[in-house]
């Protein structure tokens, strides 16, 4: 059995005092729990690593999609495009948008390129595909798999309305709703910017 569990079992028996690994920094906690550094390919055909190239040192907005989606994803992409424009006019911090396909076998870089240009999602925005196993791992890690395996098998987009956003170096992460008003989406993204913690006057 792995060492930590073995140690815990022994400790619980009162055989040896339990020792713990030193606590990680917040960003290490998040990286280890949720952000595997898997290889991926962008819509530009560029090979990237998930953590090193897409998250590290950035303020990031992350969502799931697939190019042929005709239900909710196009609307969410459209909302995020609008939110991105609103943010650009209000904040100086750069915000990276990352969209992960849940159908990597269908979504070639070319297909994602077409999707990006159709949505005018061209600045600071990467649409990402790659080996199915890697995309599936990310879907699981980022909390998009339904806890009920039967439901999850039937529809792998059951939680795709929740858009992740965060400030990687500060390990501040939460989720926004992709169907929300783009103004509100933009407002919430600022929460993880240092200035976003200060109450502004947009609420009347």
């Amino acid at each position: 059995m792995p060492e930590p569990l073995r140690r815990n079992l022994f400790a619980a028996l009162g055989l040896v005092p339990r020792t713990f690994a030193p606590p990680d920094s917040g960003r290490e906690v998040m990286r280890k729990r949720y952000f595997p550094n898997v290889p991926l390919v962008t819509h530009e055909g560029r090979p990237v690593r998930f953590y090193d190239d897409l998250l590290k040192d950035r303020i990031v907005v992350l969502n799931l999609m697939y190019a042929d989606c005709t239900t909710l994803c196009p609307m969410i992409t459209a909302n995020l495009v609008k939110a991105q424009k609103i943010l650009a006019s209000r904040v100086t911090q750069e915000v990276s948008f990352v969209s992960l396909t849940i159908k990597p076998l269908d979504d070639t870089p070319e297909k994602l390129r077409a999707y990006a240009s159709m949505h005018h999602a061209t600045t600071n925005w990467l649409f990402v595909t790659g080996q199915p196993g890697n995309l599936e791992l990310l879907r699981q890690k980022l909390g998009y798999a339904d806890a009920n395996p039967d439901k999850d098998r039937k529809d792998r987009a059951l939680h795709s309305g929740m858009v992740r956003y965060g400030n990687e170096p500060l390990s501040q992460w939460s989720s926004i709703q992709g169907s929300a008003d783009p103004e509100w989406i933009a407002e919430e993204i600022t929460y993880v910017m240092p200035t976003g913690a200060v109450r502004r006057t947009t609420v009347r």
Partner: protein, 643 residues
């Protein structure tokens, strides 16, 4: 395809193995992991005293959070030995002279001058205090200063010190002891660090839950303030109706409140910040509920025999022992460690006499049904008296076998330990809730099979008990009448979109504008209905309501709890009692459990103050992810029946 908890693909056979392993581990932990004999009996200890690796004791497989004490979904905390630390009782908050406050003197208008030290406005508040214009003194006669800060907190002897976010260094924070007729001002200072250990945002809004507070002091989700700022909150401690229906008597005595709590309410980060420790009690006393068992209603005296208890479940990292938050779980988070007042499975020593316990479910997502259990006879019912249903007192005490509490619900109970002198008892959560999805199944497990939360040893000295025996059914407050014709009925549906977004009436939260406007001082009727598969504890800020239909009762059925069910059958109506008119449902409330496909009707008035307030699900995971709306109270209201 099957996956393990790390998201790695595994075969179906391996997956089943992991599941079995999980059950094994549960069994193991349930045995306490303390007795060599138990391990031998379970075949876990070989002849030479070596531990035998049962399949998957190390697995990251799925699992459930049903009962037992560890291993719950993706949560598998390190084992801890229960009953080793005393149950902490939060210190009582002490007032200070107004001249001792840090920073500028309090002002009626927000102090928006820039603090040169931070380049931010001194104060995060954006609206003037309403109270002085209605004749309340300013600053209030009683002034407190509280600081939100990171502190090292012990939750167990066997886990490292935790870097929690606290009020004044403790979690739960200090208990405010307030009195009707004595307004208070709290200078709330945000000194939280940007460094968060993985979760938490150092931008906060402190809500006083259940209080009849003017909007600017309520802790509205978007009234947050930054580290380096303060926010002066003015709590008038005035009875509802003081400026409307009951001017002559300074409010309606039958709207008196007792057990309130304060907690962070920061939009989109409430769940993380409360999980990290930002909560505490606020107790309100008056001429009847005096805190002195020789006067008024003669309830057990505070603080010796009147004890607040905040229940919580949490998860800790198996490697580092540090508290972890399941950041990307937007369904609901269950932990495998139960804390009472911030310590895992603590011990309380009591004297053989009556006590008032003030129980609070702080979540984040778990529902509770709390029993008093004697493990030497676990199936024997141990009834006690419930005297409140949320932060008020019932018309009279009601004898109950247990209390059910969704997140944020409170129950004051009176337990007479004179009948248990020399014994050991436990507070046990017997509610069956398999995972963070949906909610409780509606069943309860057998006595002794649930989660033991607190050990109570009745070994204190024999002392005088001047409190009134609740069995004599003393009268507390009558229910205010809500039989007038409501100005209108509004309907609200609580559900989830196909892609996982939480909604009210199909719509998502925004602070920016109200979804509807209530006419000040009017009576409204609200109808709540639940979605297909989920339970939601719905909380309305500002005023208490009375449930007129579909009030939730105790969970359980005759098949899983025959001994209790036969005696208290009429209270086992978790799916909604017909009418609101039995037992503990004859009450005022601020949070109601809306069960799957449930229908609840309630009536309430919105009096005295003006401004914006939220209504939301108090599964704080749902709340943070848009199952919330803003309503405003104004001099003219709208007629929006499905906002």
């Amino acid at each position: 395809m099957y996956f393990n908890g790390r998201g790695e693909a595994v075969s179906r056979a391996r997956w089943k193995e992991m599941y079995q392993a999980f059950l094994n581990r549960q069994e193991l932990i349930k045995a306490g992991l303390t007795s060599r004999r138990d391990l031998l009996r379970m075949g876990l200890l070989g002849g030479a005293g070596m531990l035998i690796a049962k399949n998957g004791l190390s697995s990251w497989g799925g699992g459930n959070c049903r009962y037992g004490s560890t291993g719950c979904g993706t949560c598998a905390s390190p084992p801890t030995t229960p009953w080793t630390l005393p149950m902490p009782i939060p210190p009582v908050k002490q007032a200070i002279p107004v001249s001792s406050l840090t920073g500028p003197a309090p002002s009626i208008n927000p102090n928006t001058a820039i603090n040169p030290a931070t380049s931010l406005p001194y104060e995060g508040r954006t609206r003037a205090h309403q109270a002085p214009a209605l004749g309340f003194p300013f600053p209030a006669g009683v002034v407190y200063q509280v600081t939100q800060q990171q502190s090292q907190v012990r939750v167990s002897n066997e886990l490292p010190m935790q870097n929690l976010w606290t009020f004044d260094g403790v979690s739960p924070g200090p208990t405010y002891v307030a009195h009707y007729g004595t307004p208070v001002l709290v200078r709330n200072i945000n000194n939280l660090p940007v460094s968060n250990g993985g979760f938490g945002l150092n931008s906060v809004s402190t809500h006083l839950h259940n209080s009849h507070t003017p909007s600017e002091s309520d802790g509205f989700p978007c009234d947050f303030f930054a580290a380096g700022q303060y926010y002066d909150q003015y709590y008038p401690n005035a009875l509802a109706g003081f400026n409307s229906t009951h001017v002559a008597t300074h409010g309606d005595i039958n709207e008196s409140l007792s057990t309130l709590w304060y907690h962070d309410h920061r939009e989109n980060f409430t769940s993380q910040n409360v999980y990290k420790g930002l909560l505490g009690f606020y107790l309100l006393f008056n001429q009847f509920d005096t805190g002195d068992e020789t006067t008024g209603f003669r309830l057990p005296s505070f603080p010796n025999y009147d004890i607040p208890m905040a229940f919580a479940d949490r998860c800790f990292d198996a490697q580092t022992g540090m508290m972890v938050f399941d950041t990307f779980n937007t369904d609901g988070i269950l932990g495998d460690k139960f804390l009472v007042n911030g310590v895992i499975q603590p011990v309380l020593h009591v004297s053989p006499r009556r006590y008032r316990f003030r129980w609070l479910n702080t979540g984040p997502s778990r529902f509770l049904q709390v029993y008093l259990t004697d493990l030497t006879s676990p199936s024997t019912p141990q009834p006690f008296y419930q005297i409140s249903n949320d932060g008020n007192l019932l018309p009279h005490p009601v004898q109950v076998p247990a209390v059910a509490m969704g997140v944020a619900e409170r129950s004051d109970v009176i337990i007479d330990f004179s009948q248990y002198a020399g014994k050991t008892l436990y507070l046990e959560n017997r509610l069956d809730q398999p995972n963070g999805q949906g909610g409780p199944t509606g069943s309860v497990v057998a006595g002794g099979q649930g989660f033991l939360m607190l050990k109570i040893i009745v070994d204190g000295p024999v002392v005088a008990d001047n409190s009134i025996n609740p069995a004599t059914l003393p009268a507390y407050y009558a229910l205010p009448s809500v039989s007038a014709t409501p100005r209108l009925q509004r309907s609200f549906n609580f559900d989830q979109t196909r892609d996982g977004q939480w909604t009210i009436n199909g719509r998502l939260f925004s602070c920016a504008s109200p979804r509807f406007t209530i006419q000040q001082n009017s009576l409204e009727e609200w109808a709540f209905d639940g979605g297909f598969g989920w339970s939601h504890p719905i909380h309305v800020h500002f005023e208490e309501f009375q449930i007129t239909q579909g009030a939730p009762g105790l969970y359980g059925s005759s098949s899983d709890d025959p001994s209790n069910y036969s005696r208290w059958g009429s209270q086992y109506c978790w799916s909604g009692c017909s009418g609101g008119s039995s037992g503990v449902n004859v009450s005022r409330k601020d949070t109601v459990r809306v069960i799957p496909r449930g229908n609840v009707k309630m009536r309430m008035r919105f009096r005295d103050w003006l401004g914006r307030y939220p209504m939301h699900c108090h599964n704080v995971i749902h709340e943070d992810h848009a199952m919330m709306l803003r309503f405003d109270v104004a001099t003219t209201g709208d007629m929006n029946t499905r906002p």
